[in-house]
Symmetry: none
Subunit: 209 residues, 4 copies
DNA sequence: AATGAATGAGATTTCATTCAT
DNA sequence: TATGAATGAAATCTCATTCAT
């Protein structure tokens, strides 16, 4: 009767600290995976960059594939959130796309999906691939939905929304292109975004294949 | 290990016989590299798929990086030739682009340049990277040149030709996109090409960023 | 990871509660060790099967070797008790052996001593090995003693009692043999026991090498 | 026309040398596996004991499981041959068994089949297990056949031959038993063999369960 | 021209063990 | 009493590369 307030047994989850190590590993891993691709990142690389040992990585993640999956899905979910947040503002579609393009060009991450899936495929389980594909689909849908609504509101003409989405994403990547001398094509991120959206919008509104 | 090489009928030309093994290896290697990317293709894979031994591969190519470089540069040169051949015909630019798009969508190879450079970078020497970058640049220039000439001929308005080229190549890739159910977005290669060029052309001719 | 421990009804006796976890671990460990042998059982396996964490196992046992030793010695002691109980009954030796054989064939545990010592040896300290060897010897002696007494009583002719014991134990193991189709050699445990004892008894009583 | 005698291309298989390395590894591996059991022998152990590198072991055997299988099956086949050779002599069964027992007790290898299968099971493929089981069955059959023929010739009474075989093999193992002081039970191999066969023969000929 | 043998370095993964709480 | 976090050492396996023939 006197044990009113029992402390849970065991070492308390040092909540911040705890999630810190796991998150640190995830963060480091994501950077490396994005930079070099799945096969060229070793667990040792991740561990060293995170300042822990290999075994610690395996304490948190059961395999390299699992760590990869978790890192990628997390990133995609974050991107999806950002996309949804921008696209749900009460502004003309063109303005929202411009904002989004602008935001994307400044971010470090790239949406080169198959880019790093290349090389990982063989190592991932069906289930892991599914998890990634699902996160990928959510990203796409966030954009696709914006086009569908804009069509409903007659803001743009009817067009295959999947096509529009893929085109838009492809153009986004162009923004990061560097020429032979490694210099960007336009002088500022703003200008690049404007050119891309201008090009995209023209293609979108004048449709008669 | 299984040497299923069928010898062509007739007396073999000695020097072609000679180059035959080398070419066979190059061809096999290219396929594998395109399919899986540099790090996931082992010399053993290439040797086995070619029906020779690892040591034979090393007889012809001094390293994996060298073999990779040679294979990629060769492919790019072939593509460059094809591009130039199509683009140098005496037809309106839009028609030539349509033909080229059509041809590209039917070909097996993809121009996902960075795609497989990803993962190879660390292993290639500066010189090898340069050779590839040069071949890549030649490919781009073939397209870029067409835009420049079209601008000179006032067929299209003035625009950053590098930008136009990258946009065009990005749109090309969209043609190969498959949705969740792994089906293409349009019912035929022809229709896909038409949509892409239509979109591209609209963006191209109405330019006021 | 899944803590499916159901608490028994009623107020738990504190000191039994105490020994409960320890015993649970010992019991689980024994099963696993018998099943897979020392090297193929990990502390994690034991912990998980017991519904506790690795650290808890280490709270009760200072090392894997110690846990192994304790589990094995316990089992042997239990077997020794059972043997002594059967062999000390007031019946002809042959009858007692038959009963014991019968009991052994129905029990799950096996007396394949070296069987699991194999693989453990390197990891055990001298002292731990001694403890096990001692328990093993006690088991043997229980049987050996029965032979010695039977010889004293002229129930069987003079014979090296150690030899007789080992022969008997070897024959016991034959009872568990399964043929190619995984079926036993005789239709019932009773029949198997009878065959074994018959064979053994014949060898025992007609001795003139 | 002048190439009457063409030497095969490539480095010739240095026939003895070649098979020497492979055989050396097999031989070393067998010793270690018999001594410590599958899980406690590392490829490094085998490589070092063979005076080659780990990679060389993998050059000849695709996996630890494969090496194990090959080594065990080889040994069993050798034993089978020896058994058949002894048992097919034109002598009374008892004499032949005595010879065989004698030979077995002097040999280093033991027929503790399940002994090392224990611990290997999880790592072997179905196919590999089958190969071993088959070799094991061949060994048993060689003995079983001798009993069947002896029964046909009325040399011994009718008895379940599988039972007889397993009993015999079990008794063989007893011959290797060492007591607490690590000394054998009898003073010489000959005497041990005589005791075992005497015991076995008595059990065999007086059968009425 | 082509090969079989051999290797060193490094990849992923497992596991007994420690320690602060 | 029981635990979550972390680790060092070792195990299995891969692969680009060399070399004598």
């Amino acid at each position: 009767m006197n044990k009113e307030q029992r402390r849970p047994p065991g070492r308390p989850k040092v909540n911040e600290q705890n999630s810190s190590t796991r998150d640190l590993i995830l963060k480091t891993a994501l950077e490396l995976f994005l930079d070099r691709g799945f096969p060229l990142v070793s667990i040792d690389n991740i561990a060293q960059s995170s300042g822990v040992t290999k075994a610690t990585v395996y304490y948190y993640f059961s395999s390299k594939a699992e760590l990869f999956t978790e890192a990628i899905v997390r990133m995609m979910d974050r991107i999806t959130n950002r996309i949804q947040s921008i696209l749900s503002e009460d502004l003309p579609l063109k303005t929202r796309l411009l904002k989004m393009t602008h935001a994307h060009l400044k971010a470090t991450y790239r949406i080169d999906l198959d880019h790093f899936m290349q090389g990982a495929g063989d190592s991932l389980s069906e289930q892991q691939i599914d998890r990634i594909r699902l996160a990928e689909a959510r990203m796409y849908e966030a954009v696709e939905q914006a086009f569908i609504e804009a069509m409903d509101r007659k803001e743009i003409p009817k067009i295959n929304p999947e096509f529009a989405t893929q085109i838009y994403l492809a153009l986004l990547k162009v923004g990061n292109h560097r020429g032979k001398d490694h210099r960007p094509m336009f002088s500022s991120v703003e200008e690049t975004a404007r050119h891309i959206i201008c090009f995209f919008w023209n293609g979108l509104v004048n449709t008669e294949p």
